[in-house]
Amino acid sequence: MSHLLELRGVDAAYGAIAVLRGVSLEIADGGMVALLGANGAGKTTTLRAICNMGVKTRGEIRFAGRRIDGLATEAIARAGIGHVPEGRGTFTSLSVEENLRLGAYLARASERRIADDLEKMFGYFPVLRARFHQQAGTLSGGEQQMLAIARALMGQPRLLLLDEPSFGLAPIIVQDIFRILRVINREQHTSILLVEQNARLAFELVDRVYLLETGRVVTSGPPSQIAADETVRRAYLGQ
């Protein structure tokens, strides 16, 4: 099976501080993968390495068969990777509409297609319709998270990177967001790489899990297998 995204022996460092050491992972086209691990294990850094965002990387990163390591962040986005960053990256002073339109920037879409895509986003996240003309910085955390996901989807990415979409949100909103992620994966055939602290939630969503510890992949496999592992149960599921 060909992989949509493939990391081979990737090292990453902030200046002199090495964070990732020889990380290898792959995501199948249409697959959903979770990256788990404790704080500081290198989950966010892995996403940043994929998008070449402020980290020095070595090793091989392939997307849709093409080497993307060393490309500029904006070129990687153009290649078809949507990234919902840590902290959501909202354009706070701009309106919700402007945020979404910026998401469609690289698709260089016609007004017609933008309108269609907006309707689709309103279908996933009805609250965005109600907030359409509001300044994005005034949205609640959950609404901003939805906006961030919708913004990334407006670019019609083949792969969506999500950095802790559950962070700081009420459980009921998190449930909602995860349900929508499943729908997006099914309807748009968008592959998903999810970084999560909440292992239980991630296990329900994805079809493959990678476990990171101090910058290395220690184990990987389908969620059922990983969840059965005694140490994982203790460390991540609190059982």
Partner: protein, 292 residues
Amino acid sequence: MTMQTLLHQLLSGFAMGAIYASVALALVMIFKATHQVNFAQGELAVCSTYVAASLITAGVPYWIAFALTVVISFVAGVVIERAVMRQFRHASVLTQVIVFVGFLILFNSLTGWVFGTMTRPFPSPFADNAWYGSRYLSPHEIGLIGVTLVVLAIVFVFFRYTRLGLTMRAAAENPASSRLVGIRVGWMLALGWGLASTLGAVAGVMAAPRLFLEPNMMSGVLLYGFAAALLGGIDNPWGAPIGGFIVGVLENVAGAYLVGSQLKLPLALFVIILVLVLRPSGLFGRTVVVRV
């Protein structure tokens, strides 16, 4: 002191304010995008004005020379950002300030060397006896107010209603997120530089008939421009022009009735200090409300 002279001083100040408005907006545009204060903005404008003067002397009709100057200044701004400022993007603030001061001295000397340091007149496209002149405002003052308002309107429409304008605002507000949606942030900053240097060029060309052309023509104007930008709110593009008009009127009226023409320039410094002490975000500087 009659009502009439007061009115004359007010309106005349408004005309000068139009120049400060353009310069202030140019400063704010670069500040918003890069958090750098372009101390060389005035010298660049003088350079542009000399280019216009040379074109006009060579026989190019005024408005064509004006358009060419605008285009040349735009390209020069883009090139300066791409070739030089870009190298100092991640340098310390002090380094950046030194680069800007270096630019100031460089361009000042360069214009003196290439075009000569003697003061010379500069033509106005608005004839002295034009019908729109009045007792209170000369045709040139009316014309320069008109040109400035048109330019401000174009800038407003560009940023508010065009895709590229939105993209530039996004790049200025959140470069990291902009890259993630595929925006080439570096080029947006360069475009911002181009626009700023265009605004400076318009200000220079419009100011020159009144101030007379010489390499230091804009040094005072730049100071008023700083005062205007701070008064309007250094991070508020809509506040900057308003600050410009206020400073222009204030300068003229205070110069006529309060401090005399010798102390007009210190007045700009006084405004700067006053704003920084009393209201550092300026009259219209707003704090973006953010929930996390």
